[in-house]
């Protein structure tokens, strides 16, 4: 299977990331809606009054089903409002980072699909992507994404070396 160029792994990944680029914002709005419902509302509303109240009612009934999960959720609801706001903001930062990571990955794979490998543009995109992945791994304390960040760091340097060679090659007629 081809890895670079038209109809290759890169073009498949580029298309996949293009879809994700739309899925992530929609999913994040949905998650934000559910989380704010859990975090900032009480159960005193009458479920028959509005559609939203009914949704909340059903959500909480669902949650009550599994005792352990419900306890977790209840614990979150008992936190100080400031902490709850902070948790929601952190989630926002997460999603923004993820969105940027997906966007930059898509740009890279677009270039790979067009057989543009060693170029200054790719080096810039990749070094930005690397920074985002490392920030993401530090925020989420995720070891495997830190490993990914280190590999991307070295990949950036390899691409930088390759770009210098490509430049020489382009001026060797």
């Amino acid at each position: 299977m081809k890895l670079l160029g038209e109809k290759s792994l890169s073009s498949i990944l580029s298309k996949l990331l293009h879809v994700l680029l739309y899925v992530v914002p929609v999913a994040s709005i949905f998650i934000a809606f559910i989380l704010s419902t859990i975090f900032f509302s009480d159960l005193k509303e009458d479920p028959s009054v509005s559609c939203y109240a009914q949704f909340k009612h059903e959500l909480f009934s669902d949650l009550k089903g599994d005792d352990k999960e419900w306890q977790e959720m209840k614990k979150m609801r008992d936190l100080h409002p400031a902490i709850r706001v902070l948790a929601i903001s952190l989630l926002g930062v997460y999603i923004a980072l993820l969105f940027q990571i997906i966007r930059k990955s898509k740009l890279i794979f677009d270039n790979f699909r067009n057989n543009i490998v060693f170029s200054h543009k790719n080096v810039l995109i990749l070094s930005g992507l690397t920074k985002l992945v490392i920030i993401f791994s530090i925020i989420s304390a995720n070891f495997s994404s830190l490993l990914l960040g280190i590999i991307l760091l070295i990949l950036t340097d390899i691409l930088k070396n390759g770009t210098a060679l490509q430049e020489e090659h382009d001026l060797t007629i």
Partner: protein, 74 residues
């Protein structure tokens, strides 16, 4: 750059256009332009050979070294 590529002179002698030469030596027009305008950083032996063959000339007709100012100041 004190190596000058005298492609236009030889081409004028042989009455060959840039497009014609590009097609014959299997280079893109833009690459041949880079060569002609002296922007090339290096030249392939295969390119030099193809040009010499098609223009029926020697590398000495194409390449010229002229010691430039900074050299005489040394």
């Amino acid at each position: 750059m004190s190596i000058i590529f005298r492609l236009d002179r030889v081409m004028a002698d042989r009455k060959m256009s840039l497009n014609e030469l590009a097609k014959r030596v299997q280079l893109t027009n833009s690459n041949l332009s880079i060569l002609k305008t002296g922007k090339a950083r290096a030249i392939r032996m295969s390119t030099l050979e193809a040009i010499c063959r098609e223009l029926n000339c020697q590398p000495g007709d194409l390449l010229e070294y002229s010691p430039d100012d900074e050299n005489t100041n040394e």
